[in-house]
Subunit: 308 residues, 2 copies
């Protein structure tokens, strides 16, 4: 029996977040539709961040409503606060990603609030979700914990701080936890160590990994997390995105490279690589001025590579 | 106590091999000198392939003589045949890399001889080496086994064929074995499986890994080999090189990214990353028209990253 690994496309949120060019709402919908056709079963489609901060997401409500209506994949939206969560819940989305942080400095820089305040916000979002669940489906809350493997302000992050943040987020009402290597600081030993520890400490909580490939260790970190038992990974088509502090640095792990690695290793992703490369070509045409990364698009799958 | 991992720079051979621009002999020597200053302790400096096939190596004898005279690092040359080995031995080099292949088709396409013929050639080179050792230092022979993890002609390669080739090369006189993912077909499970098997089957033979990053799995494959116990890896500065069959595809694992991963994991490489990035800047200036890959040069080492 083949073991499955879930890949969540986050290019529409984490990728576009750092792209100045506004992608049209129609292109966003087409990207979603093509991704679903290629086999993606979970897509983070937008961020309900205030428009004044990120004009890229001024159409978040429309994109989320489109995604929520489709019912053929898990539609996810990032919500930075209660107001965003309210809007997301109204849109019919399936899953909310709420953000907390492993370090105090990053929390204040990224969310303009302390870690404690971010947890209080998640608590309030969870109450909102619970009330909405009385008259509709129960929306899942995933807490994304930023800078788990290193922080651009504080450098090294203690394992204890990551695990404390994860427990606190579950205490605040999160159903799932995602550990994020926001700035591409992680290395495989640390990644394996922290995930193994959390797997023991909270065996009932689904754990996911969100790796940036800033320093080229994205797939090696995926391997370490896989070995620790993680079966859920974020990725961005064409490695779309970047790191605002590092010109030339790449964004998330490229979805197509991750699909290739997992399928080559014998895992089942449910994603058709050839079709996904077609989606990448669509994306390249939709964003002609945006550099993409990733290897498999240039090299092509190897001779004899057959997906299940 | 910190565990050491050896990195061999192969950019001067495997990198330059696919670069049409001739790099001047002076620049080659300077690349070597700067690499040694940055802490590299083994460098593959040239190939003694006939000049008509690869004009890049028309100065092989001069480069090898310079490298062999220095005595402050292990100087390595690739030798495709007995004639090349003779020239290499005369140059004063420390180690010869002889090539055999895991598949018959690749052997014939790459070396214009069968696997059996390539092994007979290694036997003859070993006899030549033994005779030379009577009146000088004993030069080491490493057998590099091509396409161990997949073949551009035959696709999937059987583990047995790789192990058979490794045993045969040792039987022919090789002191060390390097398994090469020549075309970037390898995946971590297979890499770990084959290296673990050879570690058991030939515990007395030093094993090394040579990974191309053609499909982005280079560092993940390094991680799998590390976990299997391999402590010796080839890499090419700036990922110099490529894959003649895949335009846009990258070459070997980038030396600087490999150093970063290993040091971040707590291994000791003996290489100063900042100084190595300086060598990369020299290389970029020396080969202005050649695209390089690698992540750490763009992103920089993370805040708080300290080498021992």
């Amino acid at each position: 029996m083949t073991e499955s690994v879930a890949i969540r496309e986050v290019g529409l949120r984490d990728g576009l977040q750092s792209i100045a060019t506004f992608m049209s709402t129609g292109d966003k919908k087409e990207w979603i539709a093509r991704s679903v056709a290629a086999g993606l079963s979970e897509i983070e489609v937008c961020s309900f961040v205030p428009e004044k901060y990120l004009p890229q997401f001024s159409d978040a409500a429309e994109v989320a409503a489109y995604a929520g209506l489709r019912r053929d994949f898990v539609a996810v939206a990032l919500v930075p606060n209660v107001r965003g969560a309210q809007r997301a819940l109204e849109s019919g989305i399936d899953k909310l990603v709420c953000i907390t942080s492993a370090t105090e400095s990053f929390s204040r820089a990224n969310l303009r609030r302390s870690k404690a305040e971010s947890l209080a916000e998640i608590e309030e979002i969870a109450r909102l979700r619970d009330r909405a669940a009385a008259s509709g489906p129960r929306v899942i809350i995933q807490a994304g914990i930023s800078v788990c493997f290193g922080c651009p302000f504080e450098g090294k992050v203690d394992d204890d701080d990551v695990c404390t943040a994860a427990h606190a987020a579950v205490g605040a009402g999160a159903d799932e936890i995602s550990l994020a290597d926001t700035s591409g600081y992680g290395e495989p030993r640390q990644v394996g160590r922290i995930f193994r520890r959390l797997m023991c400490e909270m065996p009932q909580v689904p754990l996911a990994a969100h790796f940036h490939d800033t320093r080229g260790l994205g797939l090696a970190n995926v391997l370490a997390a896989l070995q620790a038992g993680v079966r859920s990974f974020d990725a961005s088509l064409g490695g779309l995105g970047g790191c605002p502090n590092s010109p030339g640095a790449t964004g998330n792990v490229a979805t197509e490279d991750l699909v290739f690695m997992l399928e080559a290793m014998g895992f089942e992703t449910g994603i058709d690589l050839e079709q996904l490369l077609g989606v990448r070509r669509f994306l390249t045409a939709a964003l002609p001025d945006v550099a993409m990364s990733g290897h498999i698009a240039a090299a092509g799958p190897p001779k004899g590579f057959m997906q299940r």
